[in-house]
Symmetry: C2
Subunit: 198 residues, 2 copies
DNA sequence: TCGAACTTTCAGAAATCTCTGAATGTTGTG
DNA sequence: CACAACATTCAGAGATTTCTGAAAGTTCGA
């Protein structure tokens, strides 16, 4: 919006049309597309992509200009990214500069774990909780055992099977996200283990 | 819509308000909520939930009534579910009945693998392909090696690290979906393997 | 305490996604 | 071939999500 915006910090001497900037734009488009296909808001993915690929803290103004989105959007979006643990607030080192800068985790493995954990916690765990209520009769109601219809039993059995699947998925996810960098080795072991039986 | 719809096949003698039906409704709501959080259309998830929990082939009319959605929606939705391999078309056994019935896979593990594979193929693989174009210089351009800037190298390195992550994810997904029912055992082994290092 | 410089909020606008239903297509029977 | 009985398609309606930007809030130096 305003013209009087000299870049006081962290803006590399990049012209608007150098190769790296174009490649960054391609990456931002890529990441935002990936995000929308998996239920992440476009602007959230865009801001994250920008911070990740820039590799240095940026201020709101820069993100607005670069992505062509509003101040409000940047603010809301950063709030979410900070909540998810993907982005950190960084105080400006310059005295008398009240702007808040933000930087994204640069280690792709940590990025992966963080996303996995955050999504599981937010989009999976609460719903698994709710799965129990989809049974005909809540978990332990033995008084009724004798007169449960076949249809009823089949229904509850399916819900239980799904629940077991969720528990497995939970375990797999935990195993993966707890493994630290050993994951590459682990994945090879896993591949061998699962490859053999067939 | 029309009133003249006697149920000629596969409709169990279920009143509108028996316990099982209510539990089915809860499950349909659950599954549709789960779906929307992961980028699946509400009605697609609903139709799939209904077919899965019903456990028997249903015709379009029944789905319309049960879910309160239009004929067109049911048709479009079933087309997608069949493409994804989650639902099968079933010919009516009754002579002179031209309706098509549909049934969903009942084995939850197969369901899991199918969803995993389908989503990977549709939402992941094509984009991983595209990731390569996010580099500054395409994979092999050795002529330029000498004069690549530090900034440029860092960018391409990040893209490569992300690519490696995608390859890992691909491997994990393949390992899981190829493992057949052995997955439960495998998950325990995996947990032990990954749990130890820490 | 004031005011400059920034951030956050949120009602309404805009964009996007999803559904409907009439028109059209398909299939099998007589 | 004509018709009945169903399925499919798709333009436009409707619902939902997302974004904007002005107003309110916050923070800090003087």
């Amino acid at each position: 919006m305003s013209i009087a915006a000299k870049p006081p910090l962290a803006v590399p001497a990049a012209t608007k049309h150098d190769e790296v900037r174009l490649a960054q734009d391609r990456f931002i488009a890529f990441w935002s597309e990936m995000g929308t296909r998996w239920g992440v808001q476009r602007s959230v993915a865009e801001v994250h992509a920008l911070l990740f690929i820039a590799g240095e803290p940026l201020c709101a103004e820069e993100m607005m200009e670069r992505l062509g989105i509003s101040r409000g959007s940047v603010s809301t979006t950063l709030k979410q990214l900070v909540e998810w643990g993907l982005v950190q607030r960084v105080k400006s080192t310059t005295k008398n500069d009240r702007r808040e800068f933000h930087s994204a985790e640069q280690d792709v493995w940590k990025l992966f774990y963080t996303i996995l954990r955050a999504r599981k916690r937010r989009e999976f765990d609460p719903l698994v909780e709710e799965l129990g209520t989809c049974r005909v009769s809540p978990k332990g109601s033995p008084a009724k055992v004798g007169r449960r219809s076949e249809r009823e039993k089949l229904h509850d059995q399916k819900i239980e099977e799904l629940h077991a699947l969720c528990v497995f998925f939970d375990g797999l996810s935990n195993a993966v996200s707890k493994s630290g960098k050993g994951i590459e080795r682990a994945s090879k072991v896993l591949a061998r283990l699962l490859g053999a039986p067939r």
